[in-house]
Symmetry: C2
Subunit: 312 residues, 2 copies
């Protein structure tokens, strides 16, 4: 199933995975609340759970859990949104009286139970989430992670190429007798295989140990996720606008909102990684766009491929 074919799945796809801790359990959450309907996705990276609810089912569960309360589904739903949305967006529960719990069921489901107050009476809610279809995990995790991996892999290749070129430049200066004024500025020749070998030996074993607050899906990866999805969406809208002759104006606003959501995660999470941009080198011009070591033939052949897909 293509993710783009289901509007609520497409909507979820554009959201980042927000880290949430409930009852000591670390999860990543996506949720989508519309008019008296919601869809919620949770993952601990070992399973993905979901629940989809619409007006009638929400009304009936609200009555089942709150026998003494009589209210319209709109009233129940708007209260639910008010209480639970901040929590599912990685923030705190609003109101001191609201409480949230998570219980794992024997059948593999998880229940997220909520207790708050509505019109001075206790209000209960339960998200009863069952394991998601594998196709949903493919759309929301596997395919985006694959694109992120390919993206980073290309960057590693390009940066390796740039390092080799810098070394050639440095070698030329040195062969012509240049010396450094400060010894500590001297770098060693970059050799890809030595670098990779050392990297694998020293860094890889630690990457399997998840950092608790993000399950390994840290703020930087979240931002790549959002960027990757935004580009996918832009591409889809372009294709649609070609096919349907409609402008794709709406999508850019969504992209902006997805970006600012990702920026929020960056603020919320503790960014433990070292920054590599703190050394400023301002004396020389910035890199022109032609100097990114992306061979021109390759770009044009890929663009051709896309065109074929568009008009077949």
């Amino acid at each position: 199933m293509e993710a783009g074919s289901d509007p609520s799945e497409e909507q979820l796809l554009q959201r980042p995975w927000l880290p949430v801790s409930i009852s000591g359990c670390q999860l990543l959450v996506k949720s989508c609340f519309s008019d008296t309907a919601y869809r919620i996705l949770l993952t601990d990276m070992h399973c993905v759970w979901e629940e989809r609810m619409e007006a009638a089912a929400i009304q009936s569960r609200a009555q089942e859990l709150n026998r003494r309360l009589r209210a319209s589904v709109e009233a129940f739903f708007s209260h639910l949104c008010e209480v639970v949305q901040p929590c599912l967006s990685g923030g705190e529960l609003t109101g001191g009286k609201a409480q949230i719990f998570l219980t794992r069921q024997d059948n593999g489901n998880i229940n997220v139970r909520l207790k708050s107050e509505l019109a001075e009476l206790p209000f209960y809610w339960e998200f009863r989430c069952s394991p998601a279809p594998v196709a949903l995990a493919c759309a929301q995790l596997v395919r985006p992670l694959l694109v992120i991996s390919r993206m980073l892999q290309q960057q590693v290749k390009q940066l390796g190429g740039l390092l080799v070129r810098k070394d050639a430049e440095i070698q030329d200066y040195r062969e012509n007798g240049a010396t450094l004024s400060r010894e500590r500025l001297q770098t060693e020749v970059f050799e890809e295989s030595t670098y990779r070998e050392h990297f694998m030996a020293t860094t890889l074993p630690f990457l399997w140990s998840e950092s608790l607050d993000s399950l390994g899906f840290d703020a930087d990866l979240q931002q790549l996720y959002t960027t990757a999805i935004a580009h996918r969406k832009r591409k889809l809208s372009e294709e649609r606008s070609v096919q349907e002759e409609q402008p794709a104006a709406e999508s850019s606003a969504d992209v902006v909102s997805a970006r600012s959501e990702a920026a929020n995660i960056r603020k919320q999470n503790h960014n433990k990684q070292d920054e590599t941009t703190d050394v400023k080198t301002t004396n020389r011009p910035t890199m022109p766009k032609s100097d990114m070591s992306i061979p021109a033939e390759r770009k044009s052949s890929k663009a051709k491929k896309k065109k074929v897909g568009l008009f077949r």
Copy 2:
């Protein structure tokens, strides 16, 4: 569910995803044939399917599909292995008479049907694969892809840092009056944000268009997958050997075989990516291990974390 808890899942985890084309359908396959039992995983990156079969079920399906053939389950199974294993390993069907077909069922299942000859009679087999539990997709795709992403992300950071240091060295030479003997050796200053922005604009849109033969999971990523899993396994074995006081000798052989399988994929696939290591710079010493810009504090704090996990 932890993948390590199920031996056949652990076995599958160590295998690479092999690209296979059946009836014009591009898939990635993992399979595991043991004594009169098999487990097979297929994905088109939109869904993951699986089938697990043991002796009794294999015997009964073999009889159902081959009424005229009378044979022991061992005979059926060894013939099946002989015919299908090369095909599921990304190679060709052995024997000119064997044929393989794929059909998608309305219920979301896929059937891989096989026709060959056993004792000069037609022999039929069907892999009846249904969508895999989402936990399996998490173990076999999501978590490894997340580790690959984190690994590459760290490399991008480190290489960016190295480029900044090279620029500082170059700037020092130039400030002291050095000039290049060949103008074309001059590189531009590396600026991470400019680089990333340009990369996103030019490369990202093309990463969503899958290359047909690998579904985007190309040979280089396959190798990273194998490496990541091997490191995970080594770590698990070390932990187990500490806990159970057993040697982890067996695992290293598996790692080697997984590596050679990955090497085979590299040969099979067309590697379309540009190589960055063709410029040789031999005049200066290779990079010592201490010079990889992994801050020492960080390494030691991570190592501490691991130790806590090991003995808790």
